[in-house]
């Protein structure tokens, strides 16, 4: 009881900070998952290509982004990218400020978004590839027999069917990405985790981290609900009614 009342007190003192953090977390999750999904579709198709000049680079991309920790990738992009660009401009900071990249480098949110999009794109490509592969062969043959070109086959049959099969796995990836957004607090961004970190430095009360627990559980519940609705909408032809 003592614990709960002190948690409520902390939540009461810092709620504007927490709400702003929550907004950052939600924005980052939604944007990086949408952009990552757009990246994942061409990646999955490239992985399935019979031409190794196309499937090879996609495989290397997949191994690199799924084989190293996201934290390393975030640091690499957040600290590494600007330093490489600075070298490109010969250490000339004013010239870099004038450049096309500056708005990107100046906004931590954009850098974090790039890192998360590249990462979640690599992870989402796998279930999409699996979904496309598990489209029944008969459907593929039927489409070919109708005289569809490979492009039309992909657009009208393989992708719509494959993506529907991948929905449950994509929901898992979205939850993982949401959990991973906590990492941006380590690159000075004030997401939910960052807000708690700041409250911790102000109060030296480590219980602030416990305040976050319900926030994240609600977020996960919300994502699961959204995907359940998507599944109900797009996979309604698959529902088997049990008598």
């Amino acid at each position: 009881m003592d614990l709960i009342s002190s948690l409520l007190e902390l939540a009461q003192d810092y709620w504007p900070q927490f709400l702003r953090g929550l907004w950052t977390t939600v924005q980052l999750t939604v944007l990086s998952c949408l952009l990552g999904f757009c990246l994942a579709i061409p990646l999955a198709l490239a992985r399935l290509s019979k031409n190794w000049l196309i499937s090879g680079p996609a495989l290397v991309y997949s191994v690199c982004f799924r084989g190293s920790p996201l934290l390393v990738q975030v640091f690499l992009i957040y600290y590494g990218l600007p330093s490489v660009l600075l070298q490109f401009y010969g250490g000339d900071v004013p010239a870099m400020r004038e450049s096309f990249f500056w708005p990107l480098l100046n906004a931590p949110f954009m850098l974090a978004l790039i890192a998360f999009t590249l990462n979640t794109g690599a992870y989402m490509a796998e279930p999409i590839r699996g979904g496309i592969q598990s489209v029944p062969n008969g459907e593929r043959e039927a489409a070919l027999a109708c005289g569809m070109s490979p492009r039309l086959l992909t657009r009208r049959v393989l992708l719509p069917r494959g993506l529907r099969i991948a929905i449950p796995a994509l929901s898992n990836e979205t939850i993982l990405t949401m959990k991973a957004t906590t990492l941006v607090s380590l690159v000075t961004m004030l997401d939910l985790m960052g807000a708690a970190g700041r409250a911790f430095t102000q109060t030296y009360d480590s219980k602030v981290y416990l305040v976050l627990v319900p926030f994240y559980l609600v977020l996960i519940w919300a994502i699961a609900r959204i995907f359940a609705l998507l599944e109900k909408r797009y996979n309604r032809y698959l529902v088997r009614k049990t008598v």
Partner: protein
């Protein structure tokens, strides 16, 4: 070759610490996972329900948050118990968090693997007069690994990558050593690339090993 500016031995030390952290967490995580899976399948309702809620909670929270809560929580708990300052180091907190998270995910893998054993074998063992414990020890436990292996392999790859999060509580593993190197040399791109490549090497080697051991575990079994 990449110029490490004399930080090579430091990074190597970091790699060893990362591997040690991952290995200890794997060992404890498997024990926690097995115990949790057995608890979830037990007929004691409150135990099964309680463990279920706990593992779902641990699977739902971001790993970084779990690490921080345990790091400060265990510290406070020890201080309260011993009424004196006891320092909890990053390694202990890291192992505690990573093995609990690993165990929570593994409990589902193990539960599925136990359920995958054909019921006829268990009935046959019972009809031989084996006690429930003997059935578990001789029939269920040895065969369960084959079904659990692919799932455990994936969890191991996740575990390796999650070790980098323990750098937050100051453990001198690969990620922390890399951060120190970049703050001295001011070349973040080089050092974070090297760290990424080391992690990729570890995961690629792990993947190849897992593929080999899965093939080995399936010898003598007709699949499909």
């Amino acid at each position: 070759m990449i110029d490490l500016q004399g930080f090579g031995p430091q990074l190597l030390e970091g790699v060893l610490m990362t591997l040690r952290l991952a290995a200890v967490s794997l060992f404890l995580g498997i024990i926690i996972g097995l115990a949790a899976a057995i608890a979830k399948m037990s007929s004691i309702r409150w135990l099964a329900r309680g463990v279920d809620i706990l593992t779902n909670l641990l699977r739902g929270l971001p790993e970084l948050l779990t690490i921080l809560i345990l790091y400060y929580g265990v510290q406070n708990l020890f201080n309260a118990i011993f009424e004196d300052f006891v320092e909890v180091d990053g390694f202990t907190a890291g192992v505690a968090a990573l093995s609990l998270v690993f165990g929570s995910y593994a409990s589902e893998t193990f539960r599925g693997a136990f359920l995958a054993i054909p019921i006829g074998q268990i009935e046959a063992a019972k009809s031989f007069g084996m006690s429930p414990f003997t059935v578990f020890r001789r029939i269920q436990l040895p065969q369960m690994w084959r079904y659990a292996l692919p799932g455990l392999g994936n969890l191991w790859l996740v575990l390796i990558k999650d070790t980098s999060l323990v750098s937050v509580v100051g453990l001198q593993e690969l990620m922390r050593k890399t951060q120190i190197a970049t703050s001295v040399t001011k070349s973040p791109f080089t050092f974070y690339s090297v760290a990424a490549l080391i992690f990729i090497a570890i995961t690629v080697v792990s993947t190849l090993f897992l593929r080999w051991i899965e093939k080995k575990s399936r010898r003598g079994v007709r699949m499909g």
